[in-house]
Symmetry: D2
Subunit: 358 residues, 4 copies
């Protein structure tokens, strides 16, 4: 169970990395929303493998086939089914791995849980699964954009290369101007070099994605279990390789004093605003109308392009020769996934908020 995201705007997804297709069903998209299918296709393509020198050589068109729920360019209010066919799978790359547990992969844990697994390309544990999230997130994004909400994520750290400016000091329109998706050209070049060096060494890098949602009104979020940042956190931590979530100042709050940390309210431009935004736009689990911002850290890719010593299911020590095609750093491709998950989560809360008051 539990291939389902969301409460009111839901995605139930399916698909193994090297199976026939991935896809899903989106339930809860309201009727009457205009959908631009080619814009959706472009959004999904931002996650696509094979798009640049910093990503895997696996080449998938990732063409989305929308099968229902949209008629004459508008949503019907019914469920939206879609599939993305797999084309470039070379399953023989994985034959050796069927009996072995790759370090820090899900091979062992899936087998411990289910007693069997599809070893081809990581099966359901592959990040290829996120293509379905791009579709559901991309559709949510189209509706949110029409409401004036703008969601932008970007790479703020790759390995030890960090971007020092905060988001409001950056030109977020530049995110896609380079292959690491860092809006600061100088830092971007350093990141690209760091990835190239790691790849050359058969090694991999982690990093951080920062995400900003602007134009979200006050009032989104639920008070207890469904706090907006708890739902954003769950959404982000569900992305493959994500290992931490910081809401606004996040962990930095631990060393701050209340007198520094608090965001003072002021009345400005006819609205309640805050002078600072350490909270990241959410207080008590509910949006306060300021920019929503948070950070997600990703671990380095587990698959190294070098020989690895591990064990097989019988406990024998084995050496795995590097095969398959993998990203040396997932962070650039994670950027649009973070945006997609943010869009899904925010739309879900827009819907929940519609029924909060009679």
């Amino acid at each position: 169970m539990n291939n389902r995201f969301g409460t009111l705007y839901t995605l139930t997804s399916f698909g193994e990395s090297h199976g026939k297709a991935l896809g899903g069903v989106i339930d809860g998209m309201p009727a009457g929303v205009a959908i631009d299918e080619s814009a959706l296709q472009r959004f999904v393509a931002r996650r696509r493998p094979g798009q640049s020198a910093v990503s895997t050589a696996r080449n998938e068109a990732d063409e989305v086939e929308l099968l229902s729920g949209i008629y004459q360019g508008k949503t019907l209010g019914t469920s939206i089914g879609f599939i993305v066919r797999n084309t470039d799978h070379r399953s023989d790359d994985y034959d050796e791995m069927a009996r072995c547990y790759r370090p820090s992969h899900a091979d062992y844990t899936y087998e411990a849980k289910y007693g069997l697994r599809d070893p081809r390309g990581g099966g359901r544990a592959s990040a290829r699964e996120t293509v379905a999230r791009m579709v559901a997130g991309g559709l949510a994004m189209q509706l949110l954009n029409s409401l004036g909400v703008k969601i932008v994520a970007y790479t703020s750290q790759v390995g030890t290369v960090t971007l020092d400016e905060e988001y409001h000091a950056l030109d977020l329109s530049l995110v896609d101007s380079n292959i690491v998706r860092c809006p600061d050209e100088h830092a971007a070049q350093q990141m690209i070099e760091a990835i190239a060096t790691a790849r050359q060494q058969g090694d991999t890098l982690g990093g951080v994605v920062t995400c900003v949602a602007q134009g979200v009104p006050a009032g989104l979020g639920e008070p207890v279990a469904g706090k907006l940042h708890a739902m954003l956190g769950a959404a982000m931590l569900s992305i493959n390789a994500a290992k931490s979530f910081d809401m606004g100042c996040g962990r930095k709050f631990a060393a701050m004093r209340g007198s520094q940390a608090n965001d003072t309210f002021v009345w400005r431009d006819g609205a309640v605003q805050t002078t600072t935004n350490h909270s990241g736009g959410i207080q008590g689990g509910i949006s306060n109308g300021e920019d929503i911002w948070f950070e997600v850290a990703f671990k380095p890719v587990a698959t190294l392009m070098r020989d690895i010593t591990t064990i097989d299911r019988d406990g024998n020590t084995v050496t795995l020769k590097a095969k398959g095609r993998h990203d040396p750093c997932v962070v650039p491709r994670a950027v649009p996934i973070v945006e997609a998950m943010t869009a899904m989560t925010l739309l879900d809360h827009y819907l929940m908020n519609r029924i909060a008051v009679w």
Copy 2:
């Protein structure tokens, strides 16, 4: 909506800080589990206000009244209802605040969402709500303990005082030996002093709680949306004032290389184990049998014991005189709440895992 935690082991809670009572319904506790009600009461008391010099002076017995679902010391398999009466509420402390928005509190966001709010003690936004979680978590803990699972959380940072040792270098039996719940006596004293100083200055501190779950078998967790660490993250981030979640090495992964970060598998003691545990016991969203460990950062308490400038609902600037009774640092009282949320989440996944394989 959304006062409900969990998928199979669920808590649906209710209660405003200064209403008649808080409580909840636990649904999904299996039948036949032996329950020790006085042990439960002791567990809940660890969160209780008024227990020490580092916590609020509000004095609540927090006596749990279990109303159903348990008969002759065993669970019936039916829902478990419970209430905790409020006794020491001085609502007049809050009269002035009814029209004002305290900085970094939920006053404004609740009003923006619902159009009205219960201003007494923060209403539903008060951390008093977590008493219900202690009950559901405490019952889950009793079952988990009987299965050999041990969950311990502790304070690892208060303000700028940090505990440098990792959890396995600490004697976790000492957590409750001091009022900040830090198992290192030296660091504990520094933390106590830091809190005393901040309180004296009318200021507040944040901090970090580290949590370890030992004895969890491999196989807990779900592959996609219900990844175990995503559910733990959501559970932790739903605790009042929690602002970040780090799974295992968490954000530190961003600066690591794959060759450093990976946890190598070995066959030891007749079982699959890892030589390191950067992952924190979870890979691909599913437990691998190693210790599960993570960290949660809490922001400093928003209510300062000093005059505060803010605005009221009409946009007028107002000065709030400090009133009410508040913790200068929530971290020590957050420790058992983190344990409770961990227990609820793990039991939920134990149940999910029971139906993963036919």
Copy 3:
């Protein structure tokens, strides 16, 4: 699990018949709804035992204590917790039954499922559980009434005494004018006599409740799994002793021809209407603006006031002497429960419908 009703307007209930209390948590009531607590109390009292000669002699005040979610007469948008204390329980009446399986009761099935049970008064299987539904339904009813929706149920059959008129030929304001809740005084008298006769013989009777909801707009209901009549059916069949559900003409449709069964559309009073209403106000699972009407049959009470031969858990044949206090016919007390479940279901769909269209 599964003590929860509803999707967006939810009741999670608890309580054994002879435990300390019954109660529940209502989640999803929107903020800002005016609540009349004494009207609620009167609504709940309609289900109360001991109210007349045709019901059990057990005497329970069924006083509802609302614990949260309402402030100064209005809902806060937070969860509404409530309890109803049990007072008149004579558990010694049930001591003999603890080892025996009463025919057509849930004694055996609970024990088969859970391995243990609370034998006192049927535990969770007792119809006393429905008191929580009266609270959640009563609150829903207050909101629905303010929207112009009127829900009335009545007894249309007791044993072999049937009411021949359809609902629109009856004066529904007379439902509570007699103790069997039948709006036709002549039929009511016959029903009362039939119950008296059966009681005298130590026997019990079943019957039928008809329910009508007027003023429901077109558009409530969901297309596939959440069809409005499927949800109404599930709600009704979850009431203790309910054994059938007929939507509109229900089973009578089986013998009709399409040309008789179809409800012809006409344009009348500026609106789409139908000339007949065999469908019962729902087409394709969605309300069409006509009156919603349906029927629910209840089996005769299983507990007879005569000696009963059955078996105990060891398979021994035993004779149970009649004890306890039971209704000779539950139908009159089921009438307000049917109304309550209808109100909960309709409010749930009102909320779902709010997010059906952007």
Copy 4:
């Protein structure tokens, strides 16, 4: 929302009648279950249009493409995605109907709800949607069969032709031996004639399906909201054109006395059994180990093969010439759908029951 069936074994389906494809995602099928894909295909084909003289002339192969979740003949424990392409859609048949509301169809209610609709073949309201249920039900059936559960449904009434024998007096292996799926050959012939006559007259017939599940152990079902017969009722009433549900003796209970209605327990063959089975195998919402049996009535098909007077969306009276291809009686094709929904519901409860006891 609400294209999802089930709690633990779930189907989230999609697809409009004349869109590209129908399909769904099955979540919650345990790992390790052997699947026979060609047997599944045969099961699905039993619902297929165009299979006999009593069904529509629309000809769809209804070939199921399973896309994930099964590997080397066994379920992986991951979600199972599938699609069924539409091939024989003649959408021009429906052009005239786009502005009109066919009587007792969902045209008007969908438009009232969503503001727009896909008029081609009834869109999502078409019974073609049930093909997805056949897939999810068929997979569930394979697992249930391996557990010794046998589910058989059959036509027990068509129009005024009724089958007088109860299920245990029939040879249920004969269900598919005739095109109306009635195991009594004599009654079957009368039903076939009745349908032929109605069709000739441009009219349609309703009927009743009886369903029996044998081999279900005691203990399936949940005590309050999730009563087994309430869930079966909801599942059946969600089938297009279903209008009533009778559990066991169902509505007949209303006229029975308790002394007649009760099923007496006896100890037989080393087990608790009952001498009669009026309850239909469920007591207190939980199965008691006896055969589960119930009946579902279907209204006559709304689309008549004759000219129909109705209104368009502007309120004008219009005459619809009969077009499209429709069943004169849906009951024979509803038989396997009833079986499929029963299988889904029972498997769901098997899974729930696995976590009822620790």
